[in-house]
Amino acid sequence: MRYLPHTSEDIAAMLQVVGADSLDGLFSTIPEDCCALVDMNLPEPLSEWDLNAHMGDLADVMAVSPEYKIFLGAGSYDHFIPEAVRQLLLRSEVFTAYTPYQPEISQGTLQTIYEYQTLVTRLLGMDVANASMYDGASGLAEALLMAIRITKRKKVAVSMAIHPLYRRVVSTYFSPTGFEVIELPYGKNGQTDLSGLGPLDELAAVAVQSPNFFGCIEDLQAVGNAAHTDSKTLFVSCFSEPLAYGLLKNPGSFGADIVCGEGQSLGIPRSFGGPGLGIFTTKQAYVRSMPGRLVGQTVDKDGKRGFVLTLSTREQHIRRERATSNICSNQGLCATAATMYMAFLGGTGIRELAALNRDKAEYLKGKLKQAGCAIPFDSPTFNEFVVQFPGGAETACKRLLDKKIVAGLPLGKYYTELADHALVCVTETCSKADMDALAKEVTS
C-alpha cells in the first residue's frame, strides 16, 4: 500500500530491535477481553482510480449550479472563490501543519492568523478576534456562555430572528446548564421586537443577528440602547453573512460587546455545510474571558518581529476545567482561506461586491413583486429576503424544482406562522437572466 513504507525486511529488523516475535506480539499488554475477535467488516480497498470513479458517482448525483439555479442562502452562501485561493491553500507547508505550538517553524500560520484577526476586527469594528470557532452556531453559544461568565447572571435574551439552527445549538449547549434563554419575537417589519424586553437587571446578554435570518437589517442602534440600559448586560450581535459589512455600518460602531457569526461567505466553499468558519470578536476589556486561541505579536531573541499563540492561560490545556472553553482544534485553514479571500478582494473590492449582492437581491425582489409575490417584511434587506409565493412556498418550490430551480428555503418547518413563505437569496453568482427566469416561472 502506497501509504505504508515498511518492507518485510524493515519489519523484521525493527521487530528484532523491539524484541517482539511478530507484529501481533507488539500488543501483548492488551487483555483478551478487549480484543477484536473478528476482522472489521470493511469493503475491499479501492485503488486510487476506482476511488475516483466511486467518488465521482456520489458527487454527480448532488444538485449544484450551473445545472441547477439555486436561490438558497440561509447561512450557507454561494460566492465566487478565486482559483488563486484554492491553489494557495494547497501549499502543503501550511495545509499539513498542526497547530503552531512551535512558533519558530510556524510563522507562516501565525502571521496569517494575526492578519485574519486584524482583518475581521476591521470588518466588524471590534477590538479583538480569536483564531476561530467551529461555526457560527457554536460561536454564538460560546458568546452567550461568555456573557454569563462575565456578568455572573443566568439568563440571556435571544431574538427569534436569529438563524433557527443557531438557536437550536444554543439550547443544546444550555441544556446541561441551569441557564435560561428568553426569546424575543420579531415584528411585522421582520426586525426583532424589543418592546417585550422588560427589566434587564438579570440579563447577561441581549442577542440579535444582522442581517437577520429573514435577511432584514436590524436596528442595531436600538438594540444596543436597549441592551445597555443595564450597564452590565452585554450586547451580542451575530451574523451569517459577513459580506454585508462591506456595505453596512458594522456592529462595533453600535457598541456591540461581542460580535460573532459564520464566515463561510468569505472564500470558503459551502461543502454541504462544513467546514465553515466561526468568527468571534469582542472588546479589549473582555479578551481574557474569550474562548479560543489568540495569536499575538512579539519579538525574537534578536529583536525580530514574530508571532506566537498567547494568553493561553485561558485555554483548556493549561486551565483545564476552569478554561474559558474546551475548544482545541479550530477552523484554522478556513480562517486562512478567509484571509486570502479578504486580501484578494481588498477594501475597494469588498465594498463593490457587497453592493452588487444587495443590488441584485433588490432587483429580484422587485421582479417577484411584479410577478405577484408578496414581500411580508418591509425593513431593508441585504442579499436575502422573505417571499410569499402564490399558492404556497412548498408547492411553488416543488414545481420550480422540475425546472431545476431551487427557489429558496420554505420557512414552514422553522416558523409555522410563515408556512407559505420562503427565504430567497441572491449573490453575485446569480445573473439577471437567472432571476428573470425565476420570476417568470413563479407565475406560470
Binding site: I11, I30, C34, F80, V169, S171, G306, Q316, D359
Partner: protein, 484 residues
C-alpha cells in the same frame, strides 16, 4: 552530523498585508454588473472596512512567502505526540474538491443530496465497524467537540433515568479538553492518579466512583502511550455504580482492528478523523470528532440523524431523547469526505496501519532509552514518552532539545505533556514514516543527547537557522498585541 537534513537557504521577508498595496488595486475579478444600483438609507451605510488593496500577484507572493516559514508533514518527520501527524493523501483533496461536494448546499431537499447522505451513512457504518460501537454521529467539528457531545449524551442518559449526576472521574494523564468539556456539561471533574505503571488501578477508581458520579473519561491508549489494561475491570466498577465510560479515542491509531472498544466496556467514544483518518490539520483545523456509542445510548445522539429506507437517504429529526443539534448543519462534511476516501483506500489494511504505528513507536523507544530517561518502561502503543531527567544535570531542558531538533530538520515532539511526566518528550512517529526516516530522527536525538553533555550552549542557543529565533512569549502575554 554530516547528513543533517536541516540546512539553510534563501527565503523571503514579507510584511503584513496592510504594509503593502495601494488604494485602487485589486486581486479580485469583479463580476460584471447587470442590474442597477438600489438606493440604501445612508444611515445604514458604513465606510467599508479598512482592507488593503493588492494585486493578484502581490497576494500570491505574500502567502507563498509565508508558507515557506512553516513546517508541515510534507516537510519532514512530525512526531508530535498525541497528534498523529501521518501523511495526508493527495487524493483526499481531490475528492473533497469535487464540485458535487464542495459546491453543495446543506439545506437542499434530500432527494437532491443523496450522494452526500450516502457517504455519511456509510462512513458511520465504517466507524462503527472500527470501534465496535454500533451508533455514530458525525456532527462534532473536532475531538473536543466530540467530548462535549459525548458528555452531553451521558448527562442526558442520567437525566432520562431521573437521576442527574454532578461529577465525573478524570485521570491526571488526560488531555485538558476532557475536564474542560465535562465542565461545559456542568460536571465537576474528580482527578484520578494513575499508578506507578502509568495506568489506572481498578481500586483507585472503585474508591472514587459513587452514585453522584456520571462516569469516567478515559483515554485509551492513554497519553503516556500505554494501554489501560484494566479498562474492562474499571468499566465494570463504573457500570455497577450506574455510571458510564467515556472513551477519548484520539489515540485510536494504535488499535484499529485490534481492540473492540465496545468489548472493552466503553459506552461513548470520540474519534479524531484529523488524526487517525489522515485528514490534514491545516495549521490548527478544521478537524472532525464523530462519536460512537452503544445501542443503549443511540437515542441521545444529536439530530438530524441519517436514515435509510429502500435505498433512499433522508434526515430525521424525530428523536425525542436527542441532546439536540451541536453544529448548525452536519459537522465538517469536507473532512468527512477525506476520511471516507482514506477508509475506502485502506479497507482492512487499517489493522496494518495500527501495527506499524506501534512498531515505529516501540522501535524509537528501544533505540533512545539509553540516552533519554524513559518515563515508564513498558511496551508502548502509538507513542513513547521520555523526559529530560538525564539532561537536567547539564542544565539542558526538554525545550532545548525540542528547539535543537528543528535545526536537524525535524519537527519537535509534543513537550511538557502529559503533566504527570516532568519535562515530558512525547514521540508519536505514525506508520507513514519509513525505517530510514525514523533512524535519521533517532540519530538526531542521540546527537543532541551528546551535545547536551559536550556543549549545552548549542542547545540553549537553538534554533539559529529558522526564520525567527526563540520568541518572547512572556512579553506577548504581558501586553498582548492581537491586531494592528
Amino acid at each position: 552530523m554530516k547528513h543533517t537534513i536541516g540546512t539553510t537557504g534563501l527565503i523571503f521577508n514579507e510584511p503584513l498585508l496592510w504594509e503593502k498595496g495601494a488604494p485602487g488595486r485589486t486581486g479580485f475579478s469583479m463580476p460584471k454588473r447587470d442590474v442597477d444600483p438600489a438606493p440604501l438609507d445612508s444611515g445604514l451605510k458604513g465606510e467599508g472596512p479598512d482592507f488593503p488593496d493588492l494585486s493578484e500577484l502581490e497576494v500570491v507572493r505574500h502567502f507563498t512567502h509565508l508558507s515557506q516559514w512553516n513546517f508541515g508533514v510534507d516537510s519532514g518527520l512530525y512526531p508530535l505526540g498525541s497528534c498523529t501527524m501521518k501523511y495526508n493523501p493527495k487524493t483526499n483533496e481531490r475528492q473533497a474538491s469535487l464540485p458535487g461536494f464542495a459546491g453543495s448546499h446543506p439545506l437542499l431537499p434530500p432527494e437532491l443530496s443523496q450522494g452526500a447522505l450516502k457517504l455519511m451513512f456509510d462512513l458511520q457504518h465504517d466507524l462503527a465497524e472500527i470501534t465496535g460501537l454500533p451508533a455514530v454521529t458525525l456532527q462534532p467539528a473536532a475531538g473536543s467537540h466530540g467530548e462535549l457531545t459525548g458528555m452531553m449524551v451521558i448527562a442526558a442518559y442520567h437525566r432520562s433515568k431521573g437521576r442527574p449526576r454532578g461529577k465525573v472521574l478524570i485521570p491526571d494523564t488526560a488531555h485538558g479538553t476532557n475536564p474542560a468539556s465535562a465542565a461545559l456539561c456542568g460536571l465537576k471533574s474528580i482527578p484520578i492518579q494513575s499508578n506507578e505503571n502509568g495506568i489506572l488501578s481498578p481500586d483507585t477508581v472503585a474508591g472514587l466512583m459513587d452514585e453522584d458520579t456520571a462516569g469516567i473519561m478515559i483515554t485509551n491508549p492513554n497519553t503516556l502511550g500505554l494501554f489501560e489494561e484494566n479498562i474492562r475491570k474499571i468499566a465494570d466498577i463504573v457500570h455497577a455504580r450506574g455510571g458510564l465510560v467515556y472513551g477519548d479515542g484520539a489515540n485510536m491509531n494504535a488499535i484499529m482492528g485490534i481492540v473492540n472498544v465496545n468489548a472493552a466496556g466503553v459506552d461513548v467514544l470520540h474519534l479524531n478523523l484529523h488524526k487517525t483518518f489522515s485528514t490534514p490539520h491545516g495549521g490548527g483545523g478544521p478537524g472532525s470528532g464523530p462519536i460512537c456509542v452503544t445501542r443503549e445510548l443511540e437515542p441521545f445522539l444529536p439530530v438530524p440523524r441519517i436514515v435509510q429506507a429502500d435505498g433512499q437517504y433522508r434526515l430525521s429529526e424525530d428523536h425525542p431523547q436527542s441532546v439536540g443539534k451541536i453544529h448548525a448543519f452536519y459537522g465538517n462534511f469536507g473532512i468527512l469526505v477525506r476520511a471516507y476516501s482514506y477508509i475506502r483506500s485502506m479497507g482492512n489494511e487499517l489493522k496494518k496501519v495500527s501495527q506499524l504505528a506501534v512498531l515505529n513507536a516501540n522501535y524509537i523507544k528501544e533505540r533512545l532509552r539509553d540516552v533519554y530517561h524513559l518515563a515508564y518502561d513498558r511496551p508502548c502503543m502509538h507513542e513513547c514518552v521520555f523526559s529530560d531527567a538525564l539532561q537536567q544535570e547539564n542544565g539542558v531542558a526538554t525545550l532545548d532539545v525540542a528547539k535543537r531538533l528543528m535545526e536537524y530538520g525535524f519537527h519537535p515532539p509534543t513537550v511538557y505533556f502529559p503533566l504527570v511526566v516532568h519535562g515530558a518528550i512525547m514521540i508519536e512517529p505514525t506508520e507513514t514514516e519509513s525505517k530510514e526516516s525514523i533512524d535519521a530522527f533517532i540519530d538526531a536525538m542521540r546527537a543532541i543527547a551528546r551535545e547536551a553533555r559536550e556543549n549545552p550552549e548549542t542547545l540553549h542557543e537553538a534554533p539559529r537557522i529558522t526564520k525567527v529565533r526563540r520568541l518572547d512569549e512572556t512579553a506577548a502575554a504581558r501586553k498582548p498585541c492581537l491586531k494592528d
